[in-house]
């Protein structure tokens, strides 16, 4: 069964760059890969979305290789407030289109 895979947790220090990778096979053609951030006791919130190559906004970058079997969320110069759980969301095609969230990566940023 196709699914997405993310590291369970990552640690970093303030000011460092953090890269979180999501692996996904059977990803739907022409569909987006989206990343969300979730703080405790809150719903996830949108960070960035992309289809291919590289996308950058004011908070993150998203790298998607040509085969689209993975994507990497890059957070430049993290701060303590970036401590959260990060989820990737993809649309997987097998029998029917399905929205699949990754299991999430818990990022802990230390001072």
């Amino acid at each position: 069964l196709a699914k997405t895979t993310q590291p369970i947790s990552m640690d970093s220090y303030e000011g460092q760059e953090v890269n979180i990778t999501c692996s996904h096979n059977n990803i739907a053609t022409n569909d987006y890969i989206t990343w969300y951030q979730q703080f405790p006791s809150q719903g996830p919130r949108f960070i960035i979305q992309g289809y291919k190559t590289k996308v950058t906004n004011e908070v993150a970058s998203l790298f998607i290789p040509a085969d689209r079997k993975s994507s990497t969320l890059s957070l430049p110069r993290v701060s303590l407030s970036d401590t959260a759980v990060y989820y990737c969301l993809v649309v997987l095609k097998y029998n029917t289109d399905k929205l699949i969230f990754g299991t999430g990566t818990r990022l802990q940023v230390f001072p």
Partner: protein
Amino acid sequence: DVKVTQSSRYLVKRTGEKVFLECVQDMDHENMFWYRQDPGLGLRLIYFSYDVKMKEKGDIPEGYSVSREKKERFSLILESASTNQTSMYLCASGSSYQETQYFGPGTRLLVL
């Protein structure tokens, strides 16, 4: 700002009770979603709706039903609550199922 509200932050119910979780969005979004979130399992899609009175099953629809009588409101129904339905329930809305989803704060349901 988009606002998605859920009727309760915390709910305690007994096994066998009928449970209604309500979700309201104020952005005129066509699509609305219900997820459950469990430790180690991430978010799993229960149902989504792409229009009034329309619904599609997600990954784990068993034991749940939904209702969308008005565009802004999407209800999740547990016909007969069971202990394995103890979880965090998250509602979201979006202009299409691929576009950005806006989440509510979640309802933490405990079934005793």
